[in-house]
């Protein structure tokens, strides 16, 4: 037994014991423990295996920077890979397992790779596995993949909820240590709305880990902050991303710490989007490891972490400890260890002397201080058993038997968010660390994050930053209170020791623990030419693990700078990127799951379609009835029946989804003339006209029917999918190119419900429903509109047709849509009225050769290609016209719209079939493709529309569609099958 729990002290709640399991064994801890502290209390320091060599690894840190202690939490649908034990709050019933060990943590077969570790240096895989070539896919890569990954993904969908909020703050404070709390207090007292977030369960930061603390101040401050209505305290909340214009994203873990006791219906995690006027970054500092042989043995731990375990969690990670430190901070750990009853065998300090107050205290307590010495190696298998200490600059190493080595290589301010905000770092030569330099957003750093490591300085900076932030947010005129008194010890300057000399040849010295990158890997990379820090990172994978190099990056770049003879600032850092710590995907999706992923839009008639058993098609966000199967019909049978009904008696379609735009103003007609390929100026009032719109590159963009309601007033319809796009497009031209034109546009898509009934009996129905309306050819000709009353409802009635049949589109305000539909159904009953869906509509329009934008067109098709010259004005200019004259657009052999009749009438070509003249040719030349293809119950055969190179010149010829397994012959015809079939049009 080495690690142990102190009988008193710490912030754990000894009255609430908790049980948990790790690697199949049952343990106990207390409320207030992290999984890591509870494991240490149970002397279960071996917690994982490293990524590449499967080396035994122990808990190394106490916070977000932990590289080793990754856990598979829970089982089943709620299992979670790669959780950092140092950030997992213990709850009753927690189960955890190591992530990268098989068959067990103790006996991991993967460790065999360690035997051949001489081969597995940086970049080895690029240099091998190339012969024989066929082996890569079949043998090597599968083997590599088997070794991949850490934890395992759940197999089932996640049962938990996630949520998001968007809030605005005058001052956002990231980090709730003394600096952050001081900043929050100062800003809040000035009257600013303050949000303060800390990733830990409790606010207090390093104050929670120290023995001599400002306990009273912390309690009073938290109490004051909690009582202020303008302050939000967010524990368990990580500020993970800092984006443009002070937009920050936070992840709040709401119920993770409750485990199975989490209340149902409450989101597990919540993502905060915060726009802050001012930001204070008080994110503290991370301690750096020291690089020497065997520095990854379980039992080697960051000094600050050792202190945290002792003071905050009341667990001591070892009984016989050595401290290895390059700065005075390590002595604090030595004192903490001694106070906790551990034996401190020595403080190894490579500095020639230790002049500060803390070393003096250690000395006074009889702790041996080895100045000018270093630990050159640590040994032990699954647990540290001794360290070798040697004098710097040579001399024999002596072994010290110990079970804990606390190391401190200095501190790196947590500048992640600062860097994400595009701030520029500065290398501080005295403190040996990067500190915030040039600031680019409304932001300031304070405390250890700013390189001010002493508590007094951190507090003072925090108060000042908070007050200034409030002032800049518009809450000036308030003087920040004086920081509390602190008696910081005098400290001697730290030493920079990036790699312990004399450790070479004694074993692997790790820099990046999780990715198993050693100092010699880094040097090898530099030798091979990977001299940029970015190359180094990618070649060796240093800093790319789940901890993103929080403990390793500065050591790695310092070793590189040494190897390349450049200074550290000239070597530079890699890029800090969001997120600061990993963010659950579930939280990123929030509640936009299932049907909420994208709005489902429905028409006012939708409930009827549902009741009638319609099968729906997604058209953009709309649900449109695709077909209405009856009595076990399949789609084909239903569509045949529907399409037949329209031609023989009566069909009805919900066309409410069409885009509708009210166009008004003295220049409306002129405006439409510029937009549409055909003219609208001469359109009579009450008349309708079909129009095509092109982009200025001449390609078809949208189509629809526009009706003149008055001299200066038009009603435009667009495709369902194009509605929003077209309105935006029109506004763009009006506002930016033709601002002098007097035209107002108003979207009325949903103002109107549209019921379209078509077929030989359509007129009868209209006559019945609108007795006052003259429905004869003369009074109500094709392509005209009447206002009237239909089924007692005020309506606009359009006589237009997308099917080739006599057809009326009746528009009523959408709150009357269902009433109208029901009335039409009732009136049509005697004619066998048949509701039809989009599929039958497509068949009918294709029989007539009408195009669908997006089906016959794909952004590369002009009106001329479609054979729609009749709609392309020769007289006026319009958007896109100039482009028709470009060399490629005016080629004679462009793809042109044609009809196809398969030689075998029973054949229905697949849409998307490619067309060729000669299927034996090699390479085969494709000359077109099938855009639409259906079985027509009216023609009694399959037929298709297609785009074919120079197609208009080839009417009557046979073209081939080579399909998988067969080639289909088809005759090219004009794209209008009703006329070709000689059938009468009911116009």
């Amino acid at each position: 037994m080495t690690g142990f729990r102190l009988a008193q002290g710490g912030r754990i709640d000894r009255s609430r014991p908790l049980s948990f399991t790790f690697a199949g064994r049952a343990y106990r801890g207390f409320a207030g423990d992290t999984l890591a502290s509870a494991l240490i209390a149970n002397d279960a320091l071996l917690v994982g295996r490293s990524f590449k060599y499967h080396r035994p690894r122990g808990i190394y840190a106490a916070g977000a920077e932990e590289p080793n202690a990754l856990m598979q939490l829970g089982v089943g649908e709620r299992t979670e890979p790669n959780a950092r034990a140092t950030q997992v709050e213990l709850y009753d019933g927690l189960t955890a397992n190591a992530v990268n060990a098989w068959p067990s943590l103790e006996w991991d077969l993967g460790a065999l790779t360690g035997l051949a570790s001489g081969l597995f240096v940086a970049g080895f895989y690029y240099k091998t596995f190339m012969w024989p070539p066929a082996f890569w896919n079949k043998v090597y890569e599968p083997a590599i993949r088997r070794m991949a990954g850490l934890g395992t993904a759940p197999r089932e969908a996640d049962p938990d909820l996630y949520d998001k909020v968007h809030v605005h703050a005058d001052v956002l404070v990231a980090g709730g240590g003394p600096a952050g709390l001081a900043a929050a207090l100062a800003a809040a007292q000035a009257g600013a709305d303050v949000l303060i977030a800390d990733e830990q369960a409790e606010l207090g930061g390093s104050l929670l880990s120290a023995r001599a603390t400002l306990d009273g101040w912390l309690r009073a401050t938290l109490e004051e902050l909690r009582g202020m209505p303008n302050v939000r305290l967010l524990p368990r909340t990580t500020v993970f991303g800092y984006y443009d214009q002070n937009y920050l994203c936070l992840l709040e873990r709401r119920t993770d710490h409750l485990g199975p006791a989490a209340p149902a219906g409450i989101s597990r995690q919540r993502l905060w989007h915060v726009r802050a006027r001012q930001v204070v970054l008080a994110t503290g500092a991370h301690e750096r490891p020291l690089v020497f042989a065997g520095n990854d043995r379980p039992g080697v731990m960051l000094a600050g972490a050792v202190s945290t375990y002792i003071n905050r969690y009341a667990v001591v990670p070892g009984k016989r400890a050595v401290v290895f430190t390059t700065n005075d901070g390590g002595y604090r750990t030595a004192l903490d260890l001694a106070a906790a009853g551990a034996q401190v065998l020595a403080v190894v300090d490579p500095r020639p002397e230790s002049a500060g107050d803390l070393p003096a205290q250690a000395h006074a307590q009889g702790i041996e201080i080895l100045n000018g010495h270093a630990v050159v190696a640590a040994s032990g298998g699954k647990r540290l058993d001794s360290v070798s200490v040697a004098k710097l600059g040579g001399g024999a190493a002596r072994g010290v038997v110990c079970d804990l080595l606390a190391v401190s290589g200095g501190w790196s301010p947590v500048v992640h968010l600062f860097s994400q905000s595009q701030g520029k770092l500065r290398w501080d030569e005295a403190k040996h660390c990067f500190v915030p330099g040039t600031v680019t957003q409304a932001q300031r750093s304070a405390g250890a994050a700013n390189g001010s490591f002493a508590l007094g300085a951190a507090l003072a900076e925090g108060f000042a930053a908070g007050a200034e932030a409030a002032k800049d947010a518009g809450f000036g005129g308030w003087r920040a209170p004086e920081p509390p008194e602190v008696d910081d010890p005098r400290e001697a300057p730290p030493l920079a020791l990036w790699q312990v000399p004399g450790a070479e040849g004694r074993g692997k010295a790790f820099v990046d623990f999780q990715n198993d990158v050693t100092a010699s890997d880094l040097k090898l990379a530099a030798r091979e030419g990977f001299e940029s820090v970015e190359h180094l990172k990618r070649y060796t994978t240093t800093g790319m693990a789940t901890d993103q190099g929080k403990t390793s990056n500065v050591n790695a770049l310092a070793i590189l700078s040494d190897a390349t003879g450049r200074s550290i600032p000239a070597t530079g850092t890699t890029t800090f990127r969001a997120p600061y710590t990993p963010v659950t995907y579930g939280a990123m999706a929030g509640r936009d799951r299932g049907d909420r992923l994208d709005p489902i839009r429905v028409t006012p008639i939708h409930p009827w379609h549902v009741a009638r058993g319609a099968v729906f098609e997604d058209v953009g966000q709309w649900k449109r009835p695709w077909y209405y199967p009856q009595g076990g019909e399949d789609m084909h049978a239903a569509v045949r029946r529907e399409a037949k009904a329209v031609r023989t008696s009566l069909g009805v379609l919900d066309a409410s989804t069409l885009g509708k735009i009210d166009v008004r103003g003295p220049d409306a007609a002129e405006f439409l003339d510029r937009i549409y390929t055909n003219g609208f100026r001469k359109l009579g009032t009450g008349r309708c006209r079909y129009g095509l719109m092109c982009r200025d590159d001449g390609m078809v963009f949208d189509d629809g029917v526009t009706t003149r309601l008055a001299d200066d007033h038009f009603f435009m319809t667009t495709t369902t999918g194009g509605a929003a796009r077209v309105l935006e497009w029109l506004e763009e031209w009006l506002q930016t190119e033709w601002p002098h034109m007097k035209v107002y546009l108003t979207s009325v898509t949903e103002q109107w419900a549209t019921v379209s009934f078509a077929g030989p009996r359509a007129g009868d129905v209209l006559r019945e429903l609108s007795p006052a309306l003259a429905v004869d050819e003369e009074s109500f000709p094709f392509l005209s509109m009447r206002e009237g009353v239909v089924a007692g409802l005020p309506a606009r009635i359009f006589r237009i047709s997308f099917t080739g049949e006599a057809s009326y589109e009746v528009n009523v305000p959408s709150h009357h849509g269902l009433a109208l539909w029901q009335a039409v159904m009732a009136a049509g009953e005697k004619h066998g009225i048949t509701p039809y869906g989009t599929e039958a509509m497509h068949v009918l329009r294709a029989e007539k050769g009408f195009i669908i934008v997006g089906q016959e067109t794909d952004g590369t098709v002009t009106p001329l290609d479609l054979g729609m010259d009749w709609i392309v004005s020769k007289q006026k200019d319009f958007l896109g016209k100039r482009s028709f004259a470009r060399p490629d657009t005016s080629r004679a052999d462009r793809k042109q719209l044609v009809g196809l009749l398969p030689a075998d009438p029973a054949e229905v070509l697949p849409e998307g079939a490619q067309l060729v003249w000669d299927a034996a040719e090699s390479p085969i030349r494709m000359v077109g493709h099938v855009t639409s293809s259906y079985w027509s119950p009216n023609l009694g055969r399959g037929f298709a529309l297609a785009l074919v190179k120079g197609g208009r010149d080839h009417h009557g010829k046979t073209i081939l569609a080579p399909l998988a397994g067969k080639t289909v012959e088809a005759r090219i015809v004009a794209p209008n099958f009703l006329d070709e079939g000689g059938k009468p049009l009911h116009g």
């Binding site: 190339m130 991949a148 850490l150 395992t152 197999r155 990993p582 098609e617 794909d858 998307g912 494709m926």
Partner: protein, 416 residues
């Protein structure tokens, strides 16, 4: 060039890996080269490699303003496929895929081409139609392609949800089995090492700041490491092509946008292939190290910042989770962005510019990694012969004047 193999690896292990040579030299620029390639990304390095290897043009330099491979080559989602719609594209990308298939051996450097298959999902009838159209076109163009129904999709990628009640149900997918992913960095490093061995000077931290153009001809260029004389310049500077061409007085039909990508923490293999979905702008694969690699759609605005806005990827993740419900409890480890040069027709520009001696290979937008060897190969030919390689000819700059665009938007919306 030191040959890489398991044997050389073992031999070096014995000497503590002290004797590995540099991958590439670190030369100072010469005063004059026969040709200069601007941009040390995969495409630029491949161009130099093939110029030296196939055309014997070895007195050349690749100038890279940062570290080689640090542009989009170093930040893409590594999808390699050739199932493009139009003939011109299919031929070019297939040429590249064929070169990819032998690239590890050609370069004696393992680029880890993993032909695990790429699925392009269809979520509505329009997608289905376009998918089938593409499969048919691909087959006739000699590109392997299959159409899968939903059940086959799930068989190929068991973790994809094919529940018909999804907001965007999976109605089928195209599958190219020969498509997959490759190690992006290795492609750059392999070409750099190969080019260096053939005598090409690769000069990093060398930013081109201007051109010497007289009488409509390139005579040389200016860099932060001094002036260099040359009669031929190939601009292959994805993310900065507009900036460079502006220095030469040429305006391009290109806009530079951020494109973001992200990786998860590494997990044990769960995802066997590559899944893409145009409708929801999703593409996901799992790397050989275990991270899920995902890409987003471009951010709408022009930017040279190599970063984008968070909502873009949030949106993406919501869609990913519908397709892959088991990813919900996994975590995003890192996000980043690249600068993609987007052409109006989503196809690249390869060929001469209106200044004599000046060539451009750019505008690959969101999908040029897959083209790296092919692009370099045809561009080298174009520069060396002063005439377009037949596969490059349709991609000439002049197409914007003639109107002969190769519009891959329609069918390939997310062109990765």
């Amino acid at each position: 060039m030191q040959r890489f193999s398991i044997v050389s690896l073992a031999r070096n292990a014995l000497t503590g890996h002290k004797d590995w040579p540099r991958y590439w030299r670190s030369p100072k620029p010469k005063a004059e080269y026969d040709a200069v390639i601007v941009g040390g990304g995969g495409h630029g390095l491949a161009t130099a490699y093939y110029l030296a290897k196939e055309h014997g043009v070895t007195n050349i330099a690749v100038l890279e303003k940062g570290w080689l491979g640090g542009g989009n080559t170093g930040r893409n989602t590594t999808i390699v496929r050739s199932n493009y719609l139009w003939d011109e594209s299919a031929h070019l990308y297939e040429h590249s895929l064929k070169l990819f298939e032998g690239l590890s051996q050609e370069l004696n450097y393992n680029v880890m081409l993993s032909q695990r298959g790429v699925l392009n999902l269809a979520h509505n009838l329009g997608d289905v139609r376009e998918g089938i159209r593409r499969v048919n076109a691909n087959r006739l163009n000699g590109v392997d392609a299959e159409w899968l129904g939903p059940a086959q999709v799930q068989e190929f990628c068991p973790i994809v949800s094919i529940s018909p009640s999804m907001r965007y149900p999976v109605m089928g997918a195209t599958l190219q089995r020969r498509a997959g992913v490759a190690r992006h960095d290795a492609v750059a490093w392999g070409f750099a090492r190969g080019a260096d061995a053939l005598g090409v000077d690769i000069i990093q931290n060398c930013e081109v700041t201007g051109f010497d153009i007289r009488e409509g001809r390139v005579r040389g260029l200016r860099t932060n490491q001094g002036d260099i004389a040359t009669g031929k310049v190939g601009i292959v500077a994805a993310g900065h092509n507009s900036v460079l061409c502006e220095m030469a007085g040429v305006r391009l039909p290109i806009q530079s946008h951020p494109l973001q990508a992200l990786v998860s923490e590494p997990i044990k293999p769960v995802h066997p292939c590559v899944v893409m979905s145009n409708a929801v702008h999703v593409y996901v694969s799992q790397s050989d190290k275990g991270e899920l690699v995902m890409g987003a759609g471009i951010d709408s605005f022009n930017s040279y910042a190599q970063r984008g806005s968070f909502p873009v990827i949030e949106h993406q993740m919501a869609a990913v989770l519908e397709l892959f419900p088991i990813f919900s409890r996994l975590r995003m480890l890192r996000t980043w962005g690249g600068i993609v040069d987007v052409c109006p027709d989503a196809s690249p520009i390869i060929g001469r510019l209106p200044v004599e001696g000046l060539y451009l290979n750019g505008g690959w937008g969101t999908g040029g990694f897959k083209a790296t060897p092919g692009s370099g190969h045809v561009f080298a030919h174009t520069i060396a012969r002063e005439a377009p390689h037949p596969l490059a000819a349709p991609f000439a700059f002049e197409r914007f004047t003639s109107g002969a665009l190769i519009d891959e938007h329609g069918a390939a919306a997310v062109a990765h």
